[in-house]
């Protein structure tokens, strides 16, 4: 039960990391807010969002059809499609391809789904060298840590820290200067690109109409990953589909604006099949591994909206909780509001605690480019956890291997008792009377000096007012006498109205 809170406390204690993360996410959020303002002024935002949402919903509502169409088209242009029910199967499929190729070196573009299935570790364990080529991801690989943000893996590191990581891992002195550090990484990565036999990427979108993979990137590393090695492997979640190129337009317009505040990323790359006769570059083989990993269970359920996510990271930047605790506190591949929503559903188990990391402020929902009602889904998860029924409307029952830990017995009894007391006016009033009397010994100057039961956690860092000895409902009769005339000087409930005064 305490795993999450312990991680949170540890992250909160790391001031350097918190400062770097908070500054960068706030900057990202402000850039997105500026973009939304601009699009609102141009009267485009609402319609772009609705069209983006509609495109994704179309693909999700008719998922089987579009997935079949996508697979047929990938095969038609010479690619191979592999379906994986879970992460372990996806890993095995990739390992088999790499083994068949006889590859010793694999380069990777940034991909959250490969993080989700632990692909790099699995490949490394079989003796294959794997190199992350996205700069942030490269830094995290050198540091030996998972990414802390779905679009900005090293967002929590200061420039000084990155220089230190480079010094230690690459054995080369480098000034604390982003350009110099990038140049160093570029130099080191170039030889890897040239000698790798396999390149692995994720997918931002998969276009059913043509069987194309669309990658939205800034560094050009994905383009080298997909064009230099002889074999290319794409790992994608099965929710990444869009029906056609026309429906991609609003999504491509919104994704960079929501993610980094850019109008457009530096590269938008579409890959349709392996190299054809007469073409000078591109891979000889193209494999697409389509991962279910619990996703299909959400199709048709009340959580389907979460599959619409395009992984822009906008909700992470907006989230006031993420701002404080950073991505590692979540202990999951996906963090921030979208991580809070999908991790319990995909992974189960103790991930059901993640919805506690939300103050239900709704800024994520307001920011989301594809209208995922994130904070409402978080409330749904809490309700399911309270009822002990995960994904009740899903077509298949939840995986029995993913038990749902309920809320504590004490908490459940507290809410039951509360509902019994406050569902009746007389009992409610009696409870307020009782609370104020019980608080008397603890009250000093109108505040509690010590904190009973559920208030103990409040009291560790904040004061709490003592319940009023004369609550408002007990003052109403006097207020009525005051009448409608203006008589501001008249005291309502004269005398000490609060314990300890």
């Amino acid at each position: 039960m305490s795993g999450l809170r312990e991680r949170v406390k540890a992250e909160l204690a790391n001031t350097e990391k918190r400062r770097a993360s908070a500054t960068a996410t706030w900057g990202g959020h402000q850039a997105t807010v500026q973009q939304w303002r601009r699009l609102t002024a141009e009267r485009r935002l609402q319609s772009l969002r609705e069209r983006a949402r509609a495109a994704r919903d179309e693909a999700l509502n008719h998922h089987e059809r579009y997935l079949r169409q996508f697979a047929e088209n990938v095969r038609r242009v010479g690619g191979q499609v592999h379906f994986a029910a879970d992460g372990a199967e996806a890993v095995q499929q990739v390992l088999a391809i790499v083994r068949q190729v006889g590859a010793r070196l694999v380069v990777k573009a940034k991909s959250m789904v490969t993080e989700e299935i632990g692909l790099r570790q699995a490949l490394t364990e079989t003796g294959v060298e794997v190199v992350e080529t996205d700069l942030g991801e490269y830094i995290m690989q050198l540091k030996g840590e998972p990414p802390s943000h779905i679009t900005a893996p090293a967002i929590h590191l200061s420039e000084e820290h990155v220089a230190e990581v480079f010094r230690r891992s690459l054995g080369e002195e480098v000034p604390v200067d982003p350009q110099a550090m990038t140049a160093l990484a570029r130099r080191r990565l170039r030889s890897k690109f040239l000698s790798a036999e396999v390149g692995i990427t994720g997918a931002n979108f998969a276009v059913a109409e043509t069987g194309s993979i669309v990658l939205v990137t800034n560094e050009g590393n994905a383009d080298l990953t997909t064009s230099l090695p002889r074999v290319m492997i794409v790992v994608m979640g099965l929710e990444k589909l869009v029906p056609d190129w026309a429906s991609l337009e609003p999504l491509i317009t919104l994704l960079p604006r929501a993610g980094t505040g850019q109008n457009m990323t530096v590269y938008v790359t579409a890959i349709t099949g392996p190299r054809r006769d007469g073409e000078v570059d591109g891979p000889e083989e193209l494999h697409v591994v389509v991962l279910d990993g619990g996703r299909s269970r959400l199709l048709g359920s009340k959580y389907q909206d979460a599959l619409r996510c395009i992984r822009c990271g906008g909700c992470l930047d907006a989230c006031p909780v993420f701002r404080q605790v950073g991505g590692h506190a979540y202990g999951s591949t996906y963090s921030g509001p979208i991580g809070v929503v999908i991790t319990p559903l995909l992974r189960g188990g103790e991930a059901w605690e993640l919805p506690d990391l939300c103050s239900v402020c709704g800024l994520c929902t307001e920011t989301c480019p594809v209208q995922v009602p994130l904070h409402r889904l978080i409330l749904e998860l809490r309700a399911d956890r309270a009822r002990g029924v995960p994904v009740p409307e899903a077509p298949e029952p939840a995986d029995p291997a993913m038990p749902l830990p309920g809320f504590s017995e004490a908490e459940q009894w507290l809410f039951r008792l509360w509902a019994w007391a406050w569902s009746d006016p007389a009992r409610y009033r009696a409870s307020t009377w009782l609370a104020s009397r019980l608080a008397m010994p603890a009250a000093r100057d109108g505040y509690l000096a010590w904190f009973p039961g559920p208030l103990a956690r409040w009291g560790q860092g904040r004061d709490f007012p003592a319940p009023a000895v004369k609550p408002f409902h007990a003052r109403w009769a006097e207020l009525q006498e005051e009448g409608d005339g203006d008589d501001p000087g008249r005291p309502v409930s004269p005398g000490p109205d609060r314990v300890g005064l």
């Binding site: 909160l12 909780v321 307020t432 109403w476 207020l479």
Partner: protein, 268 residues
């Protein structure tokens, strides 16, 4: 109109409801207080306990439905949001209650929203005066669920002598968040510290808001840190600014009675 005091105000900060009643009467409203009301059920709803929330909400729904008042007004953005946006969905399996909740949703308002949209008050005409610098905290549910953002500012800007200072990062939650504030107290405190830092940066004398729970959270943090900034509920500020003795702009006591400390009760 019917007043929903809210449980937080009823028990922890009754002065807010007293101010609301006086203010509304001063503006010509007939205020009633349906006495069967307890709580809107929000703490349980946000924690996932929907059955428990519905049981408690039903009690308050019944109290409010019994009244023939034209409007329901509450000095809380999040309770108004609960009644207006959640209640109609909370009684999905109880058609009669759901119908009552829908009717109620159509006539329920947060205080500042009621003053601006329904009463269309002009506080200038009342000679409202409050010579102080004020930073207004936008609470989340009021802003994003109810869509009430400009109304409190419109009212504050009608008050003579009041200088409003915008809060940086105004969209960020203060960290209260219902049960979140006891389940993740360290995060809630860190969020409060950010909000309070932004408040201190404004140099304003008062931190004003329209949700008592957020303010109690922020005030609790301020007090624990030994700071003396003043937290005030919008209802209190508006009531004090519109007091008849104050309207002439004569000798006005710059220390509003109950606001040095939101919960400390006023020596009126």
């Amino acid at each position: 109109m019917s007043l929903v005091a809210t449980c937080v105000v009823d028990i922890l900060w009754p002065e807010v409801a007293v101010s609301t009643v006086r203010l509304l009467r001063r503006l010509g409203c007939q205020v009633s207080f349906p006495e069967g009301q307890t709580c809107c059920g929000q703490p349980a709803f946000n924690a996932g306990y929907r059955e428990e929330a519905a049981r408690v909400a039903a009690c308050t729904l019944e109290a409010l439905s019994g009244s023939e008042d034209e409007y329901v007004v509450t000095p809380s953005g999040s309770c108004a949001a609960m009644i207006r946006t959640v209640w109609p969905t909370l009684f999905a399996d109880q058609p009669e209650r759901q119908a009552a909740a829908r009717r109620l949703a159509g006539r329920t308002y947060e205080l500042s929203e009621f003053l601006v949209k329904v009463l269309r008050v002009d506080l200038r005409a009342l000679g409202a005066r409050f010579p102080a610098t004020v930073a207004y905290h936008h609470s989340c549910h009021m802003t994003r669920e109810l869509g009430v953002r400009s109304e409190p500012l419109i009212l504050l800007d009608q008050i003579e002598g009041l200088r409003r200072r915008p809060l940086e990062r105004a969209d960020l939650c203060c960290g209260f968040g219902g049960t979140f504030s006891v389940k993740m107290p360290e995060v809630a405190e860190a969020m409060a510290d950010d909000k309070l830092a932004d408040f201190e940066a404004t140099g304003a004398e008062y931190l004003v808001g329209a949700d008592a729970a957020c303010l109690i959270h922020l005030q609790g943090r301020l007090r624990r840190l030994g700071k003396t900034a003043r937290v005030m509920h919008l209802a209190e500020l508006l009531e004090q600014a519109t007091r008849p003795g104050n309207a002439g702009g004569s000798a006005y006591d710059k220390r509003p009675a109950s606001s040095a400390d939101p919960v400390k009760g006023g020596a009126r």
